[in-house]
């Protein structure tokens, strides 16, 4: 590649974010930079996928595929958008495919089976009583079911908005739709969640 073009890409990446710069280093053959990216984004990606498919094993399998695709695409990578936009676009695509493939057909069953995946709530000054723990688990199940019942795109939008704290414009880029479409998706999704979860206040 022409040196000037390379420099332009580098400064564009730096302007976009440090992650894009790291990815350009991966493109140059720097394996350590891939390790840094993995360390930084491993948990957010797995947590996003877990909340999408609601199964820890499937989420980790999909996350493996996400990072594998990132690694495989290193040579053709161009920093045209934020790195996380690209990363979550891959993750969302895989999650939606997985849901559509029917791998999560028996989601209801797994919601029960998977409740063991949920971390036990830590209370710093005292251990929760059995009753408190049961109430907590029941509330958590309710939240999980409410999110699982959202249409897939609404679910992805809510998870990126709530847990990844993404801007509307970035969610729009991930979901490949307009910003106003994202606002509309979120408005409808939260409307449904309010109807199901408002009593938990």
């Amino acid at each position: 590649m022409d040196e000037r073009v390379k420099t332009d890409m580098g400064s564009l990446a730096a302007a976009l974010d440090f992650d894009a710069e790291l990815m350009l280093r991966v493109k140059e053959g720097d394996g350590a930079s891939f390790g840094i990216l993995l360390e930084k984004h491993r948990s957010p990606v797995i947590h996003f996928l877990y909340r999408m498919v609601q199964n820890q094993a499937v989420a980790e399998e999909l996350a493996q595929e996400v990072f594998l695709r990132v690694y495989r695409s290193r040579e053709s990578y161009e920093p045209t958008a934020k790195f996380t936009t690209w990363l979550f676009r891959i993750a969302t695509h895989l999650a939606l495919n997985s849901l559509r493939d029917g791998r999560n057909r028996r989601l209801e069953e797994r919601l029960d089976d998977d409740s063991a995946d949920a971390p036990v709530r830590q209370v710093s000054d005292r251990r929760p009583s059995v009753e408190e723990e049961m109430v907590h688990r029941a509330r958590l199940d309710e939240v999980r079911r409410a999110v699982a019942m959202l249409p897939e795109k609404q679910r992805a939008a809510v998870l990126m908005h709530k847990y990844q704290e993404m801007e509307y414009s970035q969610i729009a880029k991930v979901l490949n739709c307009s910003e106003s479409a994202v606002k509309s998706l979120l408005f409808r999704a939260y409307e449904t969640l309010r109807a199901r979860l408002a009593h938990m206040a």
């Binding site: 690694y71 995946d117 939260y190 979860l197 408002a198 206040a201």
Partner: protein, 163 residues
């Protein structure tokens, strides 16, 4: 301000208010509006409850061997050629461009060193020049001298016989 629930484009303000994403000025403006708007108050209250409920949903910890499994998969996808040349990778990275540059320079040097093309000459003449060797030339000269000597002997014999 216009009621965010009446203007669809502004509904995101209520979401941002409930999730604490509004700056101080916009937040104050929203609170002022909500004082006289029960619908927005109800919306914001419900949205804050949803936000808190979602807050409680903590994901499970990531498996300890996640990275190991990933690197194994990456390793499986690397071709045998990449594995073979990997130890020499830094060498290749620097040596290949240098070797290529050196090759180009040698080629350029050779092309520049070639004598300028001669004007076109008759094919036969050129073929002769190209095929004659020094010893052949010497033989030809010797042959010519021998013929000349022979000629002079023959002429001398003729003269003697006429006399």
């Amino acid at each position: 301000m216009n009621c965010p629930l009446e203007v669809r484009e502004n509904a995101a303000w209520l979401l941002d208010y409930a999730s604490g994403k509004l700056d101080a000025a916009a937040r104050a403006q929203m609170e002022e509006h909500m004082e006289g708007c029960p619908a927005c108050r109800e919306f914001a209250g419900g949205q804050q409850a949803v936000w808190q409920a979602l807050e409680a949903w903590e994901p499970a910890p990531v498996s300890m061997d996640f990275d190991r499994r990933l690197y194994q998969r990456i390793e499986r996808q690397v071709s045998w050629w990449s594995r073979l040349v990997r130890p020499f990778d830094p060498l290749f990275r620097h040596a290949v461009p240098v070797a290529a540059a050196a090759g180009v320079m040698c080629l350029a040097g050779l092309l520049m060193d070639r004598p300028a093309a001669k004007p076109a000459a008759p094919v036969e003449e050129s073929a002769q020049v190209e095929t004659l060797q020094p010893d052949q030339v010497q033989h030809a000269v010797d042959d010519m001298e021998m013929l000349r000597d022979l000629n002079s002997l023959v002429r001398a014999d003729d003269a003697e016989s006429k006399m």
